[in-house]
Amino acid sequence: MPTDILMPALSPTMEEGTLAKWLVSEGDNVAPGDVIAEIETDKATMEVEAVDEGTIGKILVAEGTEGVPVNSVMAVLLGEGESADTIAATPSPQPSPQKGEGAMAATVALPSTSPPEEEVGASASAPGEGAATPSSPQFSPASDPDLPTGVQMVEMTVRQALNEAMAEEMRADDDVFIMGEEVAEYQGAYKITQGLLDEFGARRVVDTPITEHGFAGIGVGAAFAGLKPIVEFMTFNFAMQAIDQIINSAAKQLYMSGGQVQAPIVFRGPNGAASRVGAQHSQDFTAWYAHVPGLTVIAPYSAADAKGLLKAAIRSPNPVVFLENEILYGHSFEVPKMDDFVLPIGKARMVRQGTDVTIVSFSIGMKYASEATEKLVAEGVDVELIDLRTIRPLDIETVLVSVKKTGRCVIVEEGWPQGSVGSDISARLMEQAFDYLDAPVTRIAGKDVPMPYAANLEKLALPNVDEVIAAVNAVTYRS
């Protein structure tokens, strides 16, 4: 059968072009790769190559013709023993298959941008959501496991808890290893990896040069091959050097590979402001990572949560960004003394139940939120306090249930206000609990400035307990 030579598209957006020049004539023999014509668009001139072997049977579009539609037949190629007589006089232009499908697709409603959790509320449906919207999987986190009766609680710093979590997981699974700057011989810049080199040796506790981009990529590659790396960033400020590997390589890999290649890796280290280290070393990246589908983002407050969730993160088949806080490293909390204390990813902790107002926070924000709660309760305000613990997937259900009860919500975090975790929760509450709100949802966040060095200014830049109390007074109309 003769082969049609079609007007090619140089890009998916091209619809027509000029057939500038024929480099062959009827009767010429051509081989694959031979340049047979030149076409022009407003952007470029392009050579057209023969794809099949044969003889140019008939040229149907003369050179110099403008506005030749993509996919229309320019000429006909004859195979061995085929004659030009078999060619129809004027073949009609064929519509582009993709364009045809595109037109059909345009009548289909756009899929919802909502993440799975948002389908919980009845008011969740955005205008224009049609029947064609594919349903998203429901995420329902497990509850915390019941602690054994009479379990001993031991006082422990967040630092010790993180260290124990890694040591326990490394004992249990040879595929788990840690790499990062100063994690081995120096025993950790913040001593989170203290003792690990002695117990597990240099094969599994790997000191790296100061090359975040490179070692993050090496960690992700090792994860592709089935290892379970823990990549420690000395602080998350330096992970910006590596964020391409975290997002473009780790977070998107499962999706891009159609489910074939997993990236079971944990990126961990201190996040947010420390103390008097200035703008480049004091930034909260929670909202950045929480934005990215494919990542799990965990930001614990207490030592028990740090331990139970880091163990869960190491076991997770997904890439996890585990955001610690330098100031909390030395804080002590009670941790259950158990052989294998693991907590569910994606479940918020109900710290205190109350009926007047919901305070939502995570990581060091919980410090301000807890102290404010204590004072407010003493003043007679029945606060409900929620520690998110995991930021992605976000346990919005727990927040929704709470706010539908209290009608008021204050969100506390150290990050900048625009595009913050609080902004997102606020939007979701507006979408899904609008009728239950008795006051505007209020965000307490870091000030919208780079972190200053001066002690007084730094203090002002961070949220504080008084701000939380003032916000609660405002939404409960007590001020």
Partner: protein, 358 residues
């Protein structure tokens, strides 16, 4: 699915023949001192390179018809690089490259139907239609992409090597990148750690002279890319990447080095792409003469073909029948990729994360 399975019927015949040295092959080299391939190897190389060439020509055609969207980077002209390296590798060795990845997948033995159907964005594509030309993977064939970010694959490939060493496995990571990527910072971070830890990785720089439209001379202060590992004491050599014999011989040396625990090795493959950087690149930054000279005097497939004929490894007719068979594979892939259904809309939400318990 039946159609997909059927396409693999040729897999057995496509297995790379066992390596032989020039001496063992006992053939008189056609160029003085050129390493030789035996009959089986020459025919294998011919078929593989032809498959890539015809596949890519077909992909270009289908792009022109609007069946393939987005970016599409063709490998035409560079076929000898992946073919020669693959012939020197062994089962289980990993490979990873950038966005010009179709050839790497075909030579790894990945189903052409699955590759073409990914290009057309169909459910039976290698990534269920969710990856596209630049994002394809095969865990089964240890092919890790298919990476759209220039240079990222160098750190990732080094990580694959890290895993081999960690587990005490004797496989190597074949990490491909271009002359453009060779200027990225993470490449040198990776070189440093690869040598520091003596990781089993072979860095194959496919120097096709142009990073998109910028020639090597205009982008690189030092253009001898084989020596880019010198600061880290990584050995490197320049290789005629248009001649599969030289590629194969150098790859054997590099892979043996990496496999024996001596650490990374750099091969700078001097190669050439006949087409533009991507389908929408008219390649006006180089002369038609330059392209024509490479095509007529250095074509990797033509070189093998002439040797096969002059050594009487096969007749014209036998080569024609290989050509015919390759064409049939490509035609089937194109038909398959054109007719396969698009992914079900429910696929929008799958493979984002692995949910607990699943």
């Amino acid at each position: 699915m039946a159609k997909k399975a059927a396409a693999r019927k040729t897999a057995a015949t496509r297995k790379a023949p066992a390596r032989k040295t020039a001496a063992a092959a006992g053939r008189r080299p056609s160029r003085s001192n050129a390493p030789a391939l035996d009959k089986e190897q020459e025919l294998y190389a011919y078929r593989e390179m032809l498959l890539i060439r015809r596949f890519e020509e077909k992909a270009g055609q289908m792009y022109g018809m609007g069946l393939i969207g987005g970016f599409c980077h063709l490998y035409i002209g560079q076929e000898a690089v992946v073919t020669g390296v693959h012939m020197a590798s062994k089962e289980g060795d990993a490979s990873i490259t950038g966005y010009r990845d179709h050839g790497h997948m075909l030579v790894a033995g990945i189903d052409p139907n699955g590759v073409m159907a990914e290009l057309t964005g169909r459910a039976s594509g290698l990534s269920k239609g969710k990856g596209g030309s630049m994002h394809m993977f095969s865990k089964e064939k240890n092919f890790y992409g298919g990476n759209g970010i220039v240079g990222a694959q160098v750190s990732l490939g080094t990580g694959l090597a890290f895993a081999y060493k960690y587990r005490g496995e004797d496989n190597v990571s074949l990490t491909y990148f271009g002359d453009g990527a060779s200027n990225q910072g993470q490449v040198y971070e990776s070189f440093n750690m690869a040598k520091l830890w003596d990781l089993p990785v072979v860095y194959i720089i496919e120097n096709n002279k142009y990073a998109m439209g910028t020639s090597l001379e205009r982008a690189s202060a030092m253009t001898d890319l084989s020596q880019r590992g010198a600061s880290f004491e990584i050995p490197g050599e320049k290789v005629d990447g248009m001649d599969v014999r030289y590629v194969h011989e150098a790859a054997q040396r590099a892979i043996a080095h990496a496999r024996s625990g001596k650490g990374p090795y750099i091969l700078e493959m001097l190669t050439y792409r006949y087409r533009g950087h991507s389908m929408s690149d008219p390649a006006k930054y180089r002369s038609r003469d330059e392209v024509q000279t490479m095509r007529s005097e250095h074509d990797p497939i033509e070189q093998v073909k002439q040797r096969i004929l002059s050594e009487k490894h096969a007749s014209e007719d036998e080569l024609k029948s290989i050509e015919k068979e390759v064409r049939a594979v490509v035609t089937e892939a194109a038909d398959f990729a054109t007719n396969a259904p698009e992914p079900d809309v429910s696929e929008l939400w799958t493979d984002v994360t692995i949910l607990a318990g699943s």
